[in-house]
């Protein structure tokens, strides 16, 4: 099947990364089999562990989608981290502001407005790219710093809740995303922090997939991403499509922040993101920018994150090895792109020589 063939290389990259990771573990004098067994146990060993994996995967699905969407338009949204901070900020503020409303009003409203906040944060970089060609890597990264420090300032000052801890006030329950165990309490799920943001993420991934498959928006984004000159010739506005694409990317990243605040912490504080925006880049690369593939890719990274502490505990392997494995996955995925590029280049030379 085509799906299996396309998934072949990313799967291979993951396996190779695990292999090299094992070599690293051996080099530090530890046992790789025990280490990976602990990793698997910590990620999937029981309902609580699975819940943990799902919890950690959820923001990565959104940031993965954000970066992947950008890549389809040939835009590198490296500032997803900043957009997610703004999304989280919006959720924290609106959560309190709309706290009095019933949940079926406040929850969708906060989700939509939080996404818009993320989009707004990407708007200026998008405009700069479209109008003067300012590279989005630089502009979105700069905006990322602005967002982080803005949140830091607000959380320490104006938006600080009652306590001395730098965090915003708790958002009322009507503005939160429930956890699975609460909703499915009749089944008797083990308590876990996995929340409905996961379902939202899957839904959004499907919507993005549908956008690319069946809508003019998706068609134009892909055309501009592949060949802006041909797109222009076809009457597509390259600048407007660029703006739309980067703003949608920002919205998706914003949603990552929104669900973290609404589903996990119910408030905003400085360190609420452990680099989700940047890990999202790795997720997008592994998923090869396909919206549906972002789901398993995010789950993989979520599993690594969930199983890491267990690995550290059981096999005495430092947590940083997880970062090494992540890096190796990216490296092998990138290597495949490089290898394919060279294979295609030689094939092209063959065809042009044959002419």
């Amino acid at each position: 099947m085509v799906v299996l063939r396309k998934a072949g290389v990313p799967l291979l990259s993951v396996l190779l990364a695990m292999l090299v990771g094992s070599i690293v573990i051996v080099a530090t004098g530890k046992d790789p089999v025990v280490a990976f067994a602990a990793l698997l146990q910590g990620a999937f060993g029981g309902w609580r562990q699975i819940g943990d994996t799902i919890l950690r995967s959820t923001p990565l699905m959104f940031t993965g989608l954000a970066v992947a969407f950008g890549f389809r338009a040939n835009l590198f949204n490296i500032g997803a981290e900043g957009q997610l901070f703004i999304g989280g900020l919006a959720a924290a503020i609106l959560g309190v502001a709309l706290g009095g409303l019933p949940w079926f009003v406040s929850v969708p409203a906060i989700i939509v407005l939080g996404a818009l906040a993320g989009a707004a944060w990407a708007f200026i970089p998008a405009l700069l790219k479209a109008k003067v060609g300012a590279h989005e890597v630089i502009t979105t990264m700069m905006f990322s710093y602005i967002a982080r420090y803005l949140v830091s300032y607000l959380v320490n000052g104006p938006l600080r809740g009652d306590t001395a801890i730098p965090q915003t006030a708790l958002i009322p329950a009507s503005a939160t995303l429930p956890t699975f165990d609460k909703v499915f309490s009749f089944i008797g799920l083990e308590p876990s922090r996995a929340h409905f943001g996961f379902i939202l993420a899957i839904g959004v991934a499907v919507v993005i997939w549908l956008i690319f498959k069946y809508t003019t928006l998706g068609y134009e984004v892909r055309a501009v991403g592949y060949n802006p000159l041909a797109a222009e010739n076809a009457g597509i506005s390259v600048s407007w499509t660029t703006v739309r694409a980067l703003c949608i990317s920002g919205a998706l990243a914003g949603l990552a922040g929104v669900v973290e605040v609404m589903g996990v912490h119910h408030r905003l504080f400085d360190q609420f993101s452990s680099g989700f925006g940047f890990t999202g880049i790795a997720v997008a690369l592994l998923a090869k920018n396909h919206p549906l593939a972002v789901i398993p890719a995010a789950l993989l990274f979520g599993a690594l994150s969930a199983g890491g502490p267990a690995m550290q505990l059981e096999a005495d392997v430092p947590l940083k090895l997880i970062s090494i494995i992540q890096a190796l996955v990216i490296f092998f995925v990138a290597a495949e792109t490089v290898i394919t590029y060279f294979i295609r280049k030689r094939q092209k030379e063959a065809v042009t020589d044959a002419e």
Partner: protein, 519 residues
């Protein structure tokens, strides 16, 4: 003894046998033309001889001795030089620097430019290739740059010179000069092999002609023994109509009216100086001119890709001067761009997606932003059949098609829209004889159906054979106008290079007056 001999050369690529047991020989002092369509294997063969590709079978003999050529260095050491279609020159450096690149005369690491320059002058005089050794490549014309490439090969000691499609980038005058250079080279004892698909050149300059098709040699002949029709038949394998027979034009009302159009080019200079022209329905107006004389800016203004700085463009009375590309398409302008890979197609899209480019957000393909794959697929299949695009299905990626089929795809899309005006820029660039015939027939069919066609081409044969009226562009002005059949290639070439003496503001040379002005 032949200076170069190829025996049973075979070269395979994944999925294609590019050279199938090809044998040929080349004598000193001989001009051999290697003729064939795109994809025939001529460039592949010569690239093997030059060491850019490795052969899978067969033998190469130089001066009767078996040789192994693994890299261009080996070929150069054996006295084989090659000038490619795409020059390998360093633009900011001078002629001398480029010629000695890699083999600089040096003493203790310091380059001896005096010796280098002297050597370049010596070669240039000996072979009649006049050039200024201190000129920078970027300041030279394409014809001169080619000369530098030839001198480079000679400097490296070439006794066998291979030229790959040398005339593709030259004006008619430059082509003549090239041929006389080739003749003087062979008079000095060099052997020259040149690859081409242009019949008239082969007949004009070659001593011997070898025709290749589908990776094999299909015939060897001399200009005295054959003619263009015979050669075309050998190239394609069937009778080919070289010059489209068309009915006399029946032009009706004006469709495109361009009035005093001035357009800025990319470098801040004005590229079009107040140009005016008209194209009527049922008429093909051909614009002849060397690339870079304002034709591109004219085309881009008409199709909405560039804003004119002053003047007016009207399509059937409607002002489209400042229309965007989308608005132009909606108004009825179709554009076959000069570079199908850059502007014409999205190579990573499949054929169906490419066929709706430009119409993708309108009915019946889309309703309020949602696309209808079924309707798109149906139209795609129909167009692919109508325009004879050779492909297993409409889901193949456009990048996988051959050049000819890609161009047919672009035509299918642009003509399928039933436009009022077709703007075709270099519509047969890079296509072989069979594909050219197809494209030309379709363009004439459009004209016979009452459409207006604006044709821009650097191929004089195409301009002559298709146009009802010919306008010559030079430095942003129309310097001459002729009716079809009233002017020969030489006169056109003369005007194309500014020979008509027309300056800014002067009236263009009219057809009746050309007899005096053109001589």
């Amino acid at each position: 003894m032949p200076v170069l001999e190829l025996r049973e050369i075979t070269k395979k690529f994944p999925g294609v046998l590019a050279n199938d047991r090809v044998s040929l020989s080349l004598d000193a002092g001989e001009i051999l033309a290697l003729l064939g369509e795109n994809g025939a294997g001529k460039s592949t063969l010569m690239n093997c001889v030059y060491g850019l590709l490795a052969i899978d079978g067969g033998e190469i003999l130089v001066d009767g001795a078996l040789v192994r050529i693994k890299a261009p260095r080996d070929a150069i050491d054996l006295g084989i030089g090659m000038v490619h279609q795409h020059f390998m020159l360093v633009e900011p450096l001078t002629v001398t620097e480029n010629i000695v690149l890699g083999r600089e005369p040096a003493r203790l690491g310091v380059i001896d430019f005096a010796t280098a320059k002297a050597r370049v002058r010596e070669l240039s005089e000996r072979y009649g290739l006049r050039i200024d050794p201190d000129a920078r490549i970027m300041d030279l014309s394409v014809g001169m740059q080619q000369r530098v490439e030839i001198l480079k090969a000679l400097y490296q000691g070439a006794r066998i010179l291979i030229l790959d499609e040398p005339s593709a980038v030259l004006t008619p005058q430059e082509v003549k000069e090239l041929f006389s250079v080739i003749k003087s080279l062979t008079a000095e004892g060099l052997a020259v092999a040149f690859i081409t698909h242009k019949l008239e050149e082969v007949v004009a300059v070659a001593d011997r002609i070898i025709v290749m098709r589908d990776g094999r040699t299909v015939g060897e002949t001399r200009p005295s023994e054959t003619d263009e029709v015979g050669l075309a038949r050998m190239m394609v394998g069937r009778d080919v109509v070289l010059s489209i027979q068309k009915d006399p034009p029946n032009p009706r009302e004006p469709v495109l009216v361009v009035e005093s159009l001035s357009v800025m080019g990319d470098r801040g200079l004005e590229a079009l100086h107040g140009v005016s022209l008209t194209v009527r329905s049922g008429e093909i107006v051909g614009i002849a001119g060397v690339d870079g004389n304002g034709q591109r800016e004219l085309v881009e203004s008409v199709v909405g890709l560039r804003r004119p700085s002053s003047g007016r463009i009207e399509l059937k009375g409607r002002d489209i001067t400042h229309s965007s590309a989308r608005e132009s398409i909606a108004a009825g302008v179709s554009h076959v761009p000069e570079d199908r890979h850059r502007r014409g197609l999205v190579l990573e899209f499949d054929l169906a997606e490419n066929l709706i480019l430009g119409d993708h957000n309108a009915e019946p393909y889309t309703t309020r932003g949602i696309m209808h794959p079924v309707a798109i697929g149906e139209t795609a299949r129909k167009r692919i059949a109508d325009y004879d695009v050779r492909t297993p299905s409409e889901h193949v990626l456009a990048g996988a098609l051959s050049g000819g089929n890609q161009q047919k795809l672009v035509l299918a899309r642009e003509l399928g829209r039933d436009p009022e005006l077709l703007v075709a820029a270099q519509p047969t660039r890079g296509l072989d004889v069979g594909a050219i015939e197809f494209v030309h027939r379709r363009i004439v069919a459009e004209r016979d159906a009452g459409k207006a066609v604006l044709l821009v081409s650097m191929e004089l044969e195409e301009i002559q054979s298709l146009s009802d009226r010919i306008l010559v562009f030079y430095e942003g002005n129309i310097v001459a106008e002729f009716a079809s059949g009233e002017v020969d290639d030489e006169t056109l070439g003369y005007h194309m290079t500014g020979g008509g003496g027309a300056k800014l503001g002067e009236q263009p040379v009219a057809a009746s007056a050309r007899g005096e002005a053109g001589r």
